[in-house]
């Protein structure tokens, strides 16, 4: 029994911390009209590739680092803390889908390319209304000589525009299966959405008879497997982002003088920040427990990640809202980065379904346990 981070975990987190503090520059985003590409989205990715992060969750059998999920949240947390604009989310989503749905040959081929830094991915699964429910209705697959052709549309695809390949969930024979398409394939259009969180790149895809390869492995429960891991990613981002929002607000409250005193001396400010600190502690243990449970294949892992995502995304929203309140009106301007955190928090709380959805999952699991 040991609920504390090991020295190795802390070392990993600290090295990611130093790297991202040096490399992430959000200042180009602090002008209205800026887009994620302005913040060196592609350049940062190249440096991340040099560190081997694209392959961190790829098992060693496919050439990856085979890190466990506690290691993963050390890095993803730092990405979240700094709002690092880079296509890591899309690539992680793609890797997990290939792991769950790909054949041996596909895993070797595709995951090997990810590890080598030659392949970025995105996962197109949500329908235009944001639903992740199977089978979905956005895209249908039609079997043709030598493969499939996909037709339809998907939305809310993180890192779609920059991905070399997109994994698309499509309906064939009444079931949801997973297909790989090339970004440059004929009939594929990617439209960048005016996503409020400009530290992420999110797009919609339209497909018209796009040639596709079926991920041929057993595809039962692919989405629950991938979703649980993406919950962990968002929960880790949220925990670390909430901490960043708190730290920045605390720092500001110590410096900003009003009525002859630092505003942090006033209980109206103190009490708000204390509450955020409390929620931050809970968010931390939530994500650590979830990461451990996934790593161990613990039977409560799905419960743990749903709890973490549901709790942490709301805690992050609270923290970033309080952060703007403490900064006062200056925190409401585009030239400050407070809004970047506020928007990331809000978008994280919707991207994979709202916190109420995760709470429903939690209560269903608890009901099943009780039955």
């Amino acid at each position: 029994m040991d609920f504390t981070l090991s020295d190795d975990h802390e070392t990993l987190r600290d090295s990611a911390h130093v790297f991202l503090d040096k490399e992430v520059d959000l200042s180009p985003l602090l002008k209205p009209g800026a887009m994620v590409a302005d913040a060196d989205y592609d350049g940062l990715w190249k440096k991340i590739v040099d560190l081997g992060w694209p392959g961190m969750v790829v098992p060693e059998a496919y050439g990856g680092l085979g890190l466990d999920y506690v290691d993963l949240i050390m890095i993803v947390g730092e990405m979240g803390r700094t709002l690092a604009p880079a296509p890591l989310f899309g690539t992680l989503a793609g890797v997990w889908t290939i792991l769950a749905a790909g054949s041996e040959a596909q895993k070797t081929d595709l995951l090997g390319a990810v590890v080598g830094g030659n392949l970025t991915l995105a996962l197109a699964i949500a329908d235009a209304d944001g639903s992740y429910e199977a089978p979905g209705c956005g895209v249908t697959a039609e079997a043709v000589e030598g493969g499939y052709r996909l037709t339809g549309s998907k939305s809310f695809v993180v890192d779609a525009a920059s991905a070399d390949k997109i994994i698309v969930a499509a309906v064939v024979g009444g079931e949801r299966r997973y297909f790989v398409i090339d970004r440059g394939a004929p009939g594929l259009e990617v439209e960048l959405l005016a996503w409020r969180d400009i530290t992420r790149q999110v797009g919609a895809v339209r497909l018209d008879k796009v040639p596709a390869e079926l991920l041929s492995g057993d595809d039962a429960d692919v989405w629950p497997f991938v979703r649980d891991r993406l919950y962990l990613v968002l929960a880790a981002e949220s925990a670390a982002g909430a901490r960043a929002a708190l730290d920045q607000a605390v720092e500001y409250a110590k410096q900003r003088i009003a009525f002859g005193r630092p505003i942090g001396a006033f209980q109206a400010i103190k009490h708000q920040l204390a509450e955020i600190a409390g929620q931050g502690e809970c968010a931390d243990v939530a994500v650590q427990y979830a990461a451990w449970a996934l790593s161990e294949g613990d039977p409560r892992a799905s419960l743990a990640v749903a709890m973490a995502q549901g709790y942490n995304s709301e805690a992050y929203c609270d923290a970033t809202h309080r952060n703007i309140q403490v900064f006062g009106a200056i925190g409401f301007t585009w030239e400050m980065k407070n809004h970047l955190y506020y928007k990331r928090a809000r978008c994280n709380a919707e991207l994979l379904g709202a916190p109420a959805t995760q709470r429903e999952q939690v209560i269903q699991i608890v009901e099943r346990e009780a039955a």
Partner: protein, 398 residues
């Protein structure tokens, strides 16, 4: 990192379990002699159990259906007794600890006063040194179980000529001493009273019952409050004890009320919070095992746990509708378990306003978290500067 609990066949667990098998209905004296009353204390009092072994012992007490000494006699076993290990004399330990750990002497805390609960440092009860004893005059309030206590842990002012926090001292006193009057307080629950007020009129306390030195009182008291708050970082509805959100969801499921959408969402929210509080308390424990500095995280824990408990009792009460406004214990079924004093949601609900008042109000806890964890500027306290009997003296009521 490993969130698994110590295994069923862990040798430390087997040793404790064997003892309970050999002693199926142990007396508290036997428990104390075995070193399980305050197992984390060094010999001869405890068995120097580390935090993980403490968890095992706690689980095995529950398994054996034996109420823990720390639940029966918390002030002695948890909050205050261990102060004697660091601040007490050998004679004090030999005299006071054996009956305390055997639960033959029940202890109470004598901290709050009518003139100030949150501002403990401004307390007015006087301890005046006269020869080989001190004479105590004043009044304390909100003292749990003072009416059944044999021993009281008293903080009183021994020097009014210094700033308010510096002139305080702690005494371990006999509650049967002449001059002490204890009265129960009828609290708003209308149940058998939990709290008392205690009056001191020329009460003589032998000088060898001073804990530490004169002036150490504030530090010792703060240590005890931190220990108490840490023990409240738990998912139980009242003071971290009593039923948790697991039992709440159990009751809602059994009655079918979990199907109501608004109840369902709130129940899920509370369930998650409860699990996170459980994890938080275990992480604090782990930090102790790993020798990471422990200290004021108990403030965060209690700050989170008390409102969580209030929301739980509130949801339980809400499910009854208007019928819940009639005094009755019949709220939601609870699985058969040891809940201490709070064996039903109705009592827990009407009691729950107390939990953001006692052991540091919610506001004091937030101040402490903001100042000591986040490093924000300290609140100004004009009464803390000069000698207590001048600038710091509270004005007498008109």
């Amino acid at each position: 990192m490993d969130f698994n609990f110590p295994a069923e066949d862990d040798p430390r667990r087997l040793e404790v379990r064997r003892w309970f098998e050999e002693n199926p209905s142990p007396t508290y004296k036997q428990i104390a002699e075995r070193g399980f009353s305050a197992a984390n204390w060094p010999a001869p009092w405890g068995v120097a159990a580390d935090a993980e072994t403490m968890l095992i012992i706690e689980e095995e007490f529950a398994r054996a259906g034996v109420r823990q000494p720390s639940a029966f006699n918390p002030i002695a076993v948890n909050q205050c007794g261990q102060s004697l290990l660091t601040w007490g004399t050998e004679a004090q330990r030999r005299e006071l600890l054996p009956p305390a750990l055997a639960c033959e002497h029940k202890w109470c805390m004598l901290f709050s006063e009518p003139s100030g609960g949150s501002d403990v440092g401004g307390l007015r009860t006087q301890a005046r040194r006269v020869g080989d004893h001190y004479v105590i005059n004043g009044q304390k309030i909100w003292n749990s179980s003072a009416d059944e206590a044999d021993i009281g842990v008293l903080i009183a002012r021994t020097d009014s000529s210094v700033p308010k926090h510096q002139g305080l001292s702690q005494f371990i006193i006999d509650m049967k001493s002449p001059g002490i009057t204890v009265r129960g307080i009828e609290d708003m629950t209308g149940e058998e009273h939990e709290y008392c007020e205690v009056f001191f009129e020329d009460v003589c306390v032998p000088a060898d019952r001073l804990l530490g030195k004169e002036g150490d009182g504030w530090r010792i008291t703060m240590e005890q409050l931190q220990t108490e708050r840490q023990s409240m970082t738990k998912p139980g509805a009242v003071w971290g004890a009593g039923p948790t959100a697991r039992e709440l969801v159990h009751g809602l499921t059994r009655t079918g009320k979990i199907k109501e959408p608004l109840v369902r969402d709130e129940a899920a929210r509370l369930y998650i919070e409860g699990e996170l509080l459980r994890l938080l308390s275990l992480r604090n424990l782990s930090n102790k095992i790993n020798g990471k500095p422990a200290g004021i995280e108990g403030n965060i824990g209690k700050m989170m746990a008390s409102p969580h408990g209030q929301r739980m009792t509130s949801l339980a009460k809400r499910t009854q509708g208007v019928a819940g406004m009639v005094k009755s214990n019949d709220v939601l079924p609870l699985p058969d378990k040891e809940y201490g004093r709070f064996t039903n949601w109705d009592y827990a609900y009407w009691f729950s306003p107390a939990t953001t008042l006692g052991v540091g109000t919610q506001e004091i806890l937030k101040n402490t978290v903001a100042e000591r964890v986040l490093g924000l500027p300290r609140d100004s306290d004009p009464s803390a500067r000069g000698p207590f009997n001048q600038a710091g003296a509270p004005r007498a009521a008109a």
